[in-house]
C-alpha cells in the first residue's frame, strides 16, 4: 500500500510541476504586457520599463520560470503589489476561511448524498428514487451563485433569519459562526451532494445486481446489512474516486460563494487579485489551489486503497 501511494504521489508531483508550468506560461507568455496591465494606460514608458526590470520580466522565460519555481519550493511565492506583503502569508491568512467553508460543505454534502444515493438505489423506480433524482438534477443544474443570491433574498432579506454575508470564525462563538457559514455551505454543499448522489446511486445499482449480494441474501444475511455493509462498501469505491475529482468543483464554487457571501477566503482573494491585476498573487493562489486539489486526490487514492484490497497490491 505504501508503494502504491508513493507511486501515486510521484505521478501527482509531476502533474503539479506541469501545472505550475502552465500557470507560469499563462501569466508570462501570453500576449499583453503584465506591467502595462498593472500600472495604467497612462503610465510613462520609463515607469513601465522600471516595473518590468523590477519584476524580472526582461530575463529569458525559462530563467523566470526556474526562479519562480525555485522560490516557490522554499515557500516564497513572491510579493503582492496590491497588499505590499508576501504572497504566501497572505494566502495562508485566508486559508482557514476557505477550509471552514469547504469542510462544512463537504459535511452537508455527505450527510445528504450518502443516504439519498442508497435510498434512491434501493427503491429504484419508486417515488423516493424519482424524488432523489429530480432533486439531484436540480442540484447539479442550479448555478451556485444564483442559489446563493436566492438564499440571501429569502433567508436574510425577506425572513431575516440569517446574516446576508460576512464571516465569523468558530472562536467567535459556535452559533454566530455557524449562522454566517450556513448559507454558503448549503449553497456549495448541495451542488456537491447532487453530484455524489447521482454517482452513488449508479454505483449502488451496479453493485446490487452482483452475484455476491444475491449469495449474501440467499445465505441469510439481513437486508439492512446487505445494503449498508456489503453493497455500500463496494459502491463507495468508485464514488469516492469520482467525488475526489469533483472536489475541484467545490474549490471553484468556493470562489463564487465567497464573493457573494463576502467571506474573506482564498477564493475571494483570487477574484480581488485578478481585478487589481496583482499577478504574483494570482499565480500564487492558482498554484495553491492546484496543490490542494492534487492533495485531495492523493487522499482519495489512499482512501480507495484502504477500502479496496485489490488495489493495494496492484502494479
Amino acid at each position: 500500500m505504501l508503494g502504491f501511494l508513493t507511486r501515486r504521489a510521484a505521478t501527482l508531483a509531476i502533474v503539479l510541476l506541469g501545472a505550475s508550468l502552465v500557470i507560469f506560461l499563462i501569466m508570462r507568455a501570453l500576449p499583453g504586457d503584465p506591467a502595462i496591465g498593472m500600472l495604467t494606460v497612462n503610465a510613462s514608458p520609463e515607469m513601465i520599463k522600471e516595473l518590468r526590470a523590477q519584476l524580472g520580466l526582461e530575463r529569458p522565460l525559462h530563467e523566470q520560470y526556474l526562479r519562480w519555481i525555485g522560490a516557490a519550493l522554499t515557500g516564497d511565492l513572491g510579493r503582492s503589489f496590491f497588499f505590499s506583503a508576501d504572497v504566501l502569508p497572505l494566502i495562508l491568512e485566508r486559508f482557514p476561511v476557505t477550509l471552514h467553508l469547504a469542510a462544512m460543505s463537504l459535511a452537508i454534502a455527505l450527510l445528504i448524498s450518502v443516504p439519498a444515493g442508497v435510498l434512491a438505489a434501493t427503491h429504484k423506480g419508486r417515488f423516493v428514487d424519482h424524488l432523489c433524482r429530480i432533486i439531484a438534477l436540480i442540484g447539479v443544474s442550479i448555478p451556485v451563485f444564483w442559489q446563493g443570491l436566492l438564499m440571501i433574498l429569502l433567508f436574510a432579506v425577506i425572513l431575516g433569519w440569517l446574516p446576508p454575508g460576512g464571516y465569523a470564525p468558530p472562536s467567535a462563538g459556535l452559533v454566530v459562526s455557524t449562522a454566517h457559514i450556513l448559507m454558503p455551505s448549503i449553497a456549495l454543499g448541495t451542488a456537491y451532494a447532487a453530484t455524489i448522489t447521482r454517482m452513488l446511486r449508479a454505483s449502488m445499482l451496479d453493485v446490487l445486481g452482483r452475484d455476491y449480494i444475491t449469495v449474501a441474501r440467499a445465505l441469510g444475511v439481513p437486508e439492512r446489512a446487505v445494503i449498508w455493509n456489503d453493497a455500500l462498501r463496494n459502491a463507495l469505491i468508485p464514488t469516492l474516486t469520482a467525488a475526489g475529482f469533483s472536489f475541484g468543483y467545490l474549490l471553484a464554487g468556493a470562489v463564487l460563494t465567497e464573493v457573494i457571501f463576502n467571506l474573506p477566503g482564498m477564493g475571494r482573494l483570487l477574484f480581488e487579485s485578478i481585478l487589481s491585476r496583482d499577478y504574483p498573487l494570482v499565480q500564487g493562489v492558482v498554484l495553491l489551489n492546484v496543490f490542494v486539489f492534487v492533495l485531495i486526490n492523493l487522499v482519495m487514492d489512499a482512501l480507495y486503497a484502504l477500502l479496496d484490497p485489490r488495489v493495494r497490491e496492484s502494479a
Binding site: 449469495v215 440467499a218 444475511v221 484490497p309
Partner: protein, 322 residues
C-alpha cells in the same frame, strides 16, 4: 412413504421484459426427498436456474412467482413471513452458484464471509464460528486454513474460491443445497475434485441436493433422480440410470445423442437441429415439436407429464410405459 423434504406443485414464474412476458417455469411439479440428490438438466435458456431458485423463494423480484405451492417440511414457503424465511437460509436451505469469482464480496476477507453466516444464523460466538470454519475448510482439503481465512477473494484460485463458496453454504449444515452449475466455471481436473468433495460432504451432513447442470456426465455422477427441462417445463423425470439408459422423451434422447463420445465416427458433432425456443414466443403445443424428429399432429396439443410407472414420467404422447 415419508413426506418429501421439498414438494413443489404447479410452479409458474413470469418476468416482464422489453420483448414481452416470459415464463421460465411453467407448471413445475417436483419432489425432493431428504438426503436425495435430484438433478435438473437442460440447455441454457431452459429456465432451470430460475426454477430452482423460485422453488426455495430465492427469486428476485418476489412477484416473479405467479403460482404454485412450495412445501418445505410441510410448511408453505410462500406463506412464510420474511423473518421466518430468512431463518431458513443457510440453516435449512443453502445455495452454491456458478461463478465463484463474482459470488464472493471482493472487499471482505473470505474468513469473514464464512464466519458471519455461522454467527448470524446459528447465533454462535466469533470464536466458535472461526473454529467451525477452520474445521470445514480442513474437511474441504484446504491447506493452512487459518491463513486462508484472512485472504481476500482475488488472492485465491478458482477452485479455492469455489471451495470457499461451498464452505459458506454448508457451514450451518443445511438440509437442502441448491447447487447451480457448481463446476461449470472450473477446469476439468478441479471439477472432479469439487464434485467429489460435494458428494462426500453431502453424505456426512445427510443433505439433499438439487443439482443444476447442462452437463450430463456431472448429473450422472451425483444424482439419484433427474428431471429434464425444456422451455420452462419438465419433459422427463425419473431415476438417473434409467433415464440416461432409456430416455423416453425425444428431447432427452437428442441430448444424450449430442454428447461427444470421443470416438471418431464421421467426425461430425451431432447437434440437435434448430434453435432453443424464444421463451417469449412459445408454440401452443409441445415446445420441442419444431425440432423433434417424431413430431406429429398430436404434438400441437400441450403434453402433460404422464406417469410411466416405476417413478418415471415423460411429457410425450409417444412415451411408452414401463
Amino acid at each position: 412413504m415419508t413426506a418429501p423434504l421439498l414438494s413443489v406443485r404447479g410452479l409458474v414464474t413470469r418476468f416482464r421484459t422489453e420483448v414481452g412476458e416470459i415464463f421460465p417455469s411453467r407448471d413445475i411439479d417436483l419432489d425432493i426427498a431428504a438426503g436425495e440428490v435430484v438433478g435438473l438438466v437442460g440447455e441454457s435458456g431452459s429456465g432451470k436456474s430460475v426454477t430452482a431458485r423460485a422453488m426455495v423463494r430465492l427469486l428476485e423480484p418476489a412477484s416473479a412467482i405467479r403460482a404454485g405451492t412450495l412445501l418445505y417440511r410441510g410448511a408453505e414457503l410462500r406463506a412464510l413471513a420474511p423473518d421466518a424465511l430468512r431463518a431458513l437460509r443457510a440453516n435449512e436451505i443453502s445455495i452454491v452458484v456458478q461463478d465463484p469469482a463474482a459470488a464472493l464480496n471482493p472487499v471482505m476477507s473470505v474468513g469473514a464471509q464464512i464466519t458471519r453466516i455461522h454467527q448470524l444464523q446459528r447465533g454462535s460466538t466469533a470464536l466458535d464460528s472461526r473454529a467451525a470454519a477452520i474445521a470445514l475448510l480442513t474437511r474441504l482439503r484446504i491447506a493452512e486454513p487459518e491463513a486462508r481465512l484472512a485472504a481476500y477473494p482475488h488472492q485465491l484460485s478458482g477452485g479455492m474460491k469455489q471451495r470457499i463458496l461451498i464452505a459458506m453454504a454448508l457451514i450451518c449444515r443445511p438440509s437442502l443445497l441448491i447447487a447451480d452449475e457448481p463446476t461449470t466455471a472450473l477446469d476439468v481436473t478441479v471439477e472432479a475434485e469439487i464434485l467429489g468433495l460435494l458428494a462426500e460432504l453431502r453424505r456426512d451432513i445427510g443433505m439433499a441436493m438439487l443439482l443444476i447442470s447442462h452437463n450430463l456426465s456431472v448429473i450422472a455422477r451425483l444424482c439419484d433422480r433427474v428431471a429434464v427441462m425444456y422451455a420452462g417445463r419438465i419433459v422427463e423425470q425419473g431415476p438417473t440410470d434409467r433415464v440416461l439408459a432409456e430416455p423416453r422423451h425425444p428431447y432427452t434422447r437428442a441430448l444424450l445423442g449430442s454428447v461427444p463420445r470421443g470416438t471418431k465416427d464421421d467426425g461430425k458433432l451431432p447437434a440437435i437441429p434448430g434453435e432453443p425456443p424464444d421463451l417469449a414466443r412459445l408454440p401452443a403445443g409441445c415446445a420441442f415439436a419444431p425440432r423433434c424428429p417424431d413430431a406429429a399432429e398430436a404434438c400441437t396439443r400441450m403434453q402433460d407429464l404422464r406417469s410411466l410407472g416405476a417413478g418415471r414420467h415423460a411429457a410425450c404422447w409417444r412415451a411408452e410405459p414401463t
